[in-house]
């Protein structure tokens, strides 16, 4: 009885640890997607800022253009240091994505096989593992399509 309990507890903890690693992989895989979203958000911010400044120009009938600081503000539409960061991440992730997906798939498939073989099927665990792998595949797809 003692050995059986030890084995079950060991197996459960191992599964939960692996499951957490699978979610870590999913989060790592999602970083470029989040950065792309940040890029889009920054771009939206720049456009909104430009619209507001143009509104100022219209309201003041162009008189505000005589102010040098305002003209500088109008010209300053640079997104900043985000572009080189995105390029660097893109180059790393083009190699990293297949590895992440492979590891995630191996973890999910092997866990499900072990669960079915030992007849200790846990639907929640299977769902969690599968969702994490799908997230990795989805972010990889977004990365390569974008």
């Amino acid at each position: 009885m003692e050995n059986t309990i030890n084995k079950i507890q060991f197996k459960n903890r191992l599964f939960l640890t692996i499951q957490r690693f699978n979610w870590l992989i999913a989060i790592i895989a999602f970083i470029p997607v989040l950065l792309q979203l940040l890029y889009v958000a920054v771009a939206i911010y720049v456009v909104i800022r430009l619209i507001i400044l143009l509104c100022f120009v219209l309201i003041t009938l162009g008189l505000v253009l005589l102010n040098d600081k305002f003209v500088e503000m109008l010209k300053d539409n640079d997104i900043g240091p985000l572009e080189p960061v995105l390029e660097a991440i893109a180059s790393v992730y083009s190699v990293l994505y297949p590895v992440l997906l492979g590891v995630s798939l191996v973890i999910t498939v092997s866990s499900i096989i072990i669960m079915y073989k030992s007849k200790s099927i846990n639907k929640g665990r299977i769902a969690s593992l599968t969702i994490a792998t799908i997230l990795v595949a989805f972010s990889m797809l977004l990365f390569y399509l974008g």
């Binding site: 009885m1 003692e2 059986t4 957490r20």
Partner: protein
């Protein structure tokens, strides 16, 4: 004989020293024990135990600390480990069904004895040790684990910093 299990969490059921296979039937769980026509006395062991109460707890926790990347990715150990080793004895008359309801109320601070197991539909059964007992050894070991884990993490950070500087 079919035993319906209500509200079971991580308790394990043993019959004649062997783990009972718990099956799921939609939302409910049940276990089946072999039929007996002679009405022989049967006992069912219901066990819940902390992982840190086993003999090789140190190497067990060390192993998971390592593979769980400094213990960050391995689930936490129970703060108040409760121990349950309950025996339900009854006469097995074959085609019979009854229910066992589990109470998973685990007090966090002030330890209160609660009835963890309730047998429904089997009035002739005898239940022994049906109380949660605070596992003081596991609680002490958890404290040791937490302290060691913290110190090892600090040591690892210092080691990494030294390696980076050199």
């Amino acid at each position: 004989m079919k035993i319906h299990l209500i509200n079971r969490a991580d308790t394990l059921l043993f019959y004649n020293g062997k783990l009972l296979d718990i099956k799921s039937n939609g939302n409910s769980e049940y276990a089946e024990i072999p039929h007996s026509n002679g009405g022989e006395k049967t006992s069912l062991h219901i066990i819940r135990r902390s992982e840190l109460s086993q003999k090789g707890w140190f190497f067990y926790s060390l192993f998971f600390w390592i593979i769980g990347f400094f213990g960050f990715f391995t689930p936490r150990y129970e703060k108040n480990p409760n121990y349950l080793d309950c025996i339900i004895s009854f006469y097995n008359y074959g085609e019979e069904e009854f229910k066992i309801r589990f109470n998973n109320y685990l007090p966090s601070k002030n330890f209160v004895n609660v009835n963890p197991v309730e047998v429904i539909g089997k009035p002739d059964c005898i239940t022994e040790n049906f109380v949660y007992q605070l596992d003081k050894t596991a609680k002490r070991r958890r404290k040791i684990y937490k302290l060691l884990s913290f110190l090892l993490r600090i040591a690892a950070i210092i080691l990494i910093l030294v390696l980076l500087i050199n």
